[in-house]
Symmetry: D2
Subunit: 333 residues, 4 copies
């Protein structure tokens, strides 16, 4: 795990590492299977990774999987996957691997741990990490993979559990342009948009940016709808006016936080079944902004509001419950 | 000045006045000219009102105008308008009047002043105010017009000087549903969207909501683009990724604050020619929110940021210069 | 209601009224009783006003009182006061009156209403308003009193119910320097500090400033103590370190928000018995700041946090319950 | 540097490490010189460390020093210090060492680098770090020192360059109670307050808390004074009123940000000679708060405001220039 600290140290002292990262991996030789539908490894079979791996199987891939949960492995076995006992075991069998893990330390462990991918990885392998993590960790992982002559790409997703199941995810991919086509062939089996954002780390960077902006616009939409309704506007009328005007945003037109304004969205289902407030990890964005000394006044405040919401019982509710949080509840504590 | 307190008192104790306002004016008898293209009055011929009045003339209306500026009046005279010497003079000649004024006190003066509209207004007149003002003042004006058997509607606009010139404004209209069709006929000559928002005051309410949300999303977009670029993302790529994802908003896809990302927008023209920061009047939203005790954490912070920007030399720049404000300038004070 | 706009218009265009106000009343002739212990009127006998009036009686004054509550009047009658039926009745009997009322409209009504003070006020009277209200309303009241040849002074208090009872209030007084000694003689019977802040309105201005700063430091103290305790610091040790360093403030050393750190304060009594969150009226400060275009980023955010706290069940708790609000409660909504 | 990552990992997964840290080092055997005035090492001879080391010399200590700057070393040599070539060389000569370094990576390098302290440290040594760093790094350093049978204590300071020169610093000390007396004997030569805060890391924790609260109160004081002055209050009167009331704080009564209110403070010297805005490192507090998931809404906003100030030319000015930042400058960008 030493490299994590090193990445941070480097970052503080030579932040330009980001700008350089785009061109560092072009020399990695690709010796992977080039015929289509070559076997793929998948590590991390949770709410997101499970359905993603199944989509690969549905699309005709032979998939070798690992997870720490017995149930998750059993579930994939039934779906036709080849289950093995460690990340190292996956890497010794296949040369294209997708990882989908909860956070920084899990990624570091799966790649650089004792029975991690890098302990057995084949030269020329393509390693695609779809976890949402710190871009600095992605850059660090890429460096370590590079030493083993393997290519690491970060490819976090936009879209939740339903999009994972239906293969409708958007992938934001960072890594060498020369390797992007190979990554895209795999990722297209699990998503409908696969976007190359630049050098390694830029996929995570784009994800971090998206999440911060999303949090700002969702809380902003909640404040605005709440105030407008208190001013006597009918909620649907207010939504329509705002969405034909300069206030238009995804949080208003596609995921409106006011119950009953849109059908099928979490706000119309008691804020269930969406993207939980506790997963709205703006800590990543704040760490990045602090390290880069980049001012993010609204992003920081949004982070704080979601932090308080987690403390006040909204952790498991959809993040559009910011609207509910702003309501007057009146009951005495 | 006792009435000041009274207005506030009423507001604090019977805020439901808003909710009721929709139905108070249905009994006003409409005795206006019903044939099309009846003469129209226009008061307030500035950057917005001037082009709007001209569009009425272009569309075949006979227009009687007033403004305090001699030059504005002369300009309209050349365009074919009938220029008179006071709001009262306008109201004594025509029974349909549009007003477009800078702020609360101007509206109050034009309607209730010594030579104001209400001093000569004909029973049954339709008075449409397109100024951006406090919804509470609109409600008050409507009450006073009602005593003269005239109908007041608030119809603030979205879209700037260019939209005013090209007749592409959006009107957000508050007032009795029974009078909306008559107002719409007039307003369609100056805009392409005319939306009925509800009872009197709701047009202004929608405008206030739109402006608050716009300010939040513009500053949010500025923070996000700034951080992403510092993280090594190419600006246009970042814009594209965000706009195909849940961060999508008008401030990113139509009016992006980063120079060079979109053509023709103020950010690509040194933040000139758009909507000045000093006109981003979030004070209206904050006054309303404070009165209603409606929490608006991000809206309040956006208000404060634009306040500081006005103090620091950005008052005349386009409001997307929030991006520039967040930049590192380094020079010592 | 036209005057509403007029007041706002005046304010926006001649804000210097504040600066001028100090010198406008020097010419008022003082013809009041000059012997000590002349009779005093007291209007507004609530939690604060009741004990204040009683202190005047205890100190040997003959006190004539009015309140809308029968019980409050009865309570004062037992304490020895002369109870009359209206503000006008008070003003017709005595020429020195103290008012202690809940908010702007109450003050306006008591002074300028049909049976208000000004309907019967004697020339040369001294009218001292200890209510916490908008400084603009104070200035307006002073103008109206001036027309009746009476002097109005604003004298809001710092210190709560206990300080009112024990005569330990601080009075922040605005009004003509020439009248300050007369006001001070009266106020010293109810408080231990009587400070002349400047012209009329400056007492309220100082109060508004104090409340904003207090809210900022209380929430700041709550955040800081909470973070420090989570970092492993013992609460009392943390308090001691902070109070011997540059973080020192009243909210930490005198009214610490963490239960058990100080004895006798509301935080150590389940946040009961102090100054209720719902009375923490930062709306006054925000209205003033918005009118003056004075940036108050932390003040605005503190306002918003107390607004949300009121909505979430903390309205009746002491305002130091901000500490409790920031805690992790975990239970699901 | 691996342990840094480990500390963070642990922190995220078992935050109770903090609570435990107080008792982990009691078993370390102390075999240091116990006679007074035993030789002391000092590493880091900058604006703070230089004067501190000189105070040890003045008080009769034999001091062995190291710094990367030749000039700093030469300066101390003239003052009577024994200059050596590396941290390792210091540790091989003396068993009591004080370190005063700029930030996390410097501390990590000086302790755990190739020619770092731990490469030669004697068993039983007392290592006191007065740098302002992340408490997690302190805990990690303590663990590594423990493996060498040495005691690490964190002892960051409050008070700036002048206090360092005059020996008037306050030390906030974290580490085993059994070792505190030995540390105190050394530190008392450089400061007038030496406070034991608890287990290792709690000194840094207290410092982080103090800085966050200080930033909040300084910006709050700046907002409040600015608004009050705009409301017509004379600055010194306003300061006096606030300081006798519940708004009282160090930023108002000792370090007032308004020029001319207090003599001798930076605000009265064009914001020169104090504590530079760029050194107001609230990033530490924000990283800690994010890791602990502790809400700090005002602390975060204060961080953002100082971030923007650094970008806008206030980096080298005293941190009380927040008052100046809020002023209306009007000149066009």
């Amino acid at each position: 795990m030493a490299a994590l600290g090193k990445a941070r140290f480097l970052l503080q002292h030579k932040c330009s590492v980001y700008k350089l990262s785009g061109c560092r991996y072009f020399s990695v030789q690709s010796v992977r299977h080039s015929e289509s539908k070559s076997p793929v490894g998948f590590i991390g079979l949770g709410n997101m990774g499970g359905p993603m791996a199944k989509n690969l199987i549905k699309n005709g891939y032979s998939v070798t999987v690992f997870d720490v949960s017995e149930q998750s492995k059993e579930d994939l076995r039934k779906a036709g996957a080849n289950v093995v006992s460690s990340p190292a075991a996956v890497a010794s069998e296949v040369d294209t691997i997708v990882t989908m893990l909860p956070s920084n330390p899990h990624v570091i462990e799966v790649y650089t741990g004792k029975s991690g991918i890098l302990s057995t990885v084949k030269p020329g392998s393509l390693l695609i990490d779809s976890s949402t993590i710190d871009p600095m960790v992605s850059i660090d992982m890429a460096e370590q993979c590079s030493k083993k002559n393997a290519t690491f790409m970060d490819a976090p997703v936009s879209g939740g559990v339903l999009a994972a199941a239906s293969g409708a995810l958007t992938f934001m991919v960072g890594g060498p342009a020369s390797e992007f086509p190979a990554a895209k062939i795999i990722l297209e089996n699990m998503g409908k948009n696969v976007i190359h954002c630049g050098g390694v780390g830029t996929g995570e960077a784009a994800k971090v940016c998206n999440n911060m902006m999303l949090a700002i616009s969702m809380i902003g939409a909640s404040e605005t709808m709440n105030m407008g309704i208190k001013l006597g506007l009918e909620p649907k009328v207010l939504k329509d006016v705002l969405c034909t005007s300069s206030a238009r945003c995804w949080s208003l037109d596609t995921y409106n936080p006011v119950p009953g304004v849109l059908e099928g969205v979490p706000s119309s289902k008691d804020y269930q079944g969406g993207f939980a407030t506790e997963l709205m990890d703006l800590g990543l964005a704040q760490n990045v902004a602090t390290t880069l000394k980049s001012p993010t006044p609204l992003g920081s405040l949004a982070h704080q509001i979601y932090r308080v919401m987690c403390n006040k019982g909204y952790a498991r509710k959809d993040f559009s419950s910011a609207y509910m949080f702003l309501q007057d509840e009146k009951e005495e504590k």
